[in-house]
Amino acid sequence: MSGSHPLHRVAIVGVAATEMARRLDATSAETSLRAALGALDDAGLAVADVDGVAARWPGPGGTVFQPGSADWAEVFGHPLRWVCDTYPQGVPAALDAAAAVAAGLCEVALVFGGQAGVMGGAAVADYTRPDNEFLACWGSLTAAQFALVAQVYRHRFAPDVERVAAIAAAIRNAGSANPAAVMAGRGPYTAADVLESPPVAEPFRLLDLCLATEGAAAMVITTAERARDLRRQPVAILGGGAQWHRQQYVNPPRYDEVWGLGADAARRAFALAELGPEDVDVFELYDINTYEVVRQFEMLGLCAEGEGADCLWEAGIGRSGRHPVNTDGGLLSYSHIGWGGPTLKIVEAVRQIRGTAGPGQVADAEIALVTGAGAGAQYYNVMVLGRG
């Protein structure tokens, strides 16, 4: 890259993910800290090097007035130059941290988070039960909000349900092969297994939907200059963008407004990277459910609207397919950890580009696409990563 764009003057230099499980015997704070220290160790940096933080503060202790990144300054034992509490995870935090580093507001930004010891026995995680007064009274849940979008798609295009289910099976089989995945060793899954799993909210069945698990993830971003002296192959942010359609879970998402959500962000991200979606070697997509994978390929322009399931069936989404997707097993099978799930996408993409991804490694992966959120959430973000 030319280095003329600010985002091209920084690099991701460390990543980490903790053990993942349905329930961990630890607190969210302990697990988050473990991920943070892991990412610093991965980079060859120390806590003393950190001068920027983007992280939720889960307690115990700290302030009760707007808890957040500043609470971590207390734990790290020194003042910070930059904090970001708006969306401290995944692509938005990576882009915010990159912009801060590029602008010289801080030099070493640490983004981390997750959850532990919080998942109870409820049918769904509490954060999937928005308590807005025009949603909660109807028994809405996040899966149902996404289902309202998928139902219009099905009504208009009648996609082959086995080919849609095959997407969940393929991603879950990647998770089966990943020893770090919550669902490691389970399966193998077929499309029939997905279609025979219990219904949740039409068209979604249990195996179409992501996990709600525990663990934490972290990443470290610094200047490209400093990255050259660190332990690992730096990973460059070639491009990125976000779209905030409206606040999530207030009004139901409308297919006609959100099926293409992200197209503008992706267009800008790829323009900045001087690449196109067809140049991507590995896709770490936000797989809250199967139809979101279909949607993202159509939104990116790699498949025409209504043809995503057939297109992916023909291309193949396994590690040796034309479009490898969610090589760690994704949110469906690896893990989905509250304020850390979106960061897991970046962890896997960085490892793919380094060539250290384990069983899911795609041969010669140079360009990775990372995405976050989706149609039902009414916001979305993308980032193109490559070798730094």
Partner: protein
């Protein structure tokens, strides 16, 4: 007392939305209408989302509409709900839409584009809710 989302426990006393719920309790469906651009909108906001005017008022709705999308929920978020039920996004004829239930038919018969009209039902906490049922007359 405030609820988990900072909402007044007596829904008829909530700012912005109290009049909506009070109307529901009377068996009436209303929606915010902007006095400047005359558009209907929902959910209620302090300003019109199309022209940003703060001069709006609740007006009665015909309660007739069409199903924009619907999904049958088999696994409710809490045990308070009896599954299966049909969650729907209904386009109401004055140009607004809301999340609601489709009632008065089997879940498998609820369909996108179906003509529906409002029918007040009892929610899990005993409060009245504006659900929608298939129109009985053929248009």
């Amino acid at each position: 007392m405030d609820g988990p989302a900072g909402q007044r426990r007596d829904r008829r006393l909530r700012p912005l939305t109290g009049q909506f719920w009070a109307a529901v309790d009377r068996g009436e469906l209303v929606r915010p209408v902007c006095r400047d651009c005359r558009r209907s909108f929902f959910v209620p906001q302090f300003a019109c989302p199309r022209c940003q005017s703060t001069d709006w008022a609740y007006e009665p709705s015909s309660g007739r509409g069409r199903v924009y999308s619907c999904t049958t929920v088999h696994r409710p978020p809490t045990p308070a709900f009896d599954a299966p039920y049909v969650l729907a996004d209904v386009d109401v004829e004055e140009g607004w839409h809301l999340l609601t239930w489709i009632v008065g038919c089997r879940p498998e018969d609820a369909a996108i584009d179906m003509a529906v009209s409002v029918r007040f039902v009892s929610g899990p906490d005993g409060h009245r809710l504006p659900a929608f049922a298939p129109e009985e007359t053929v248009r």
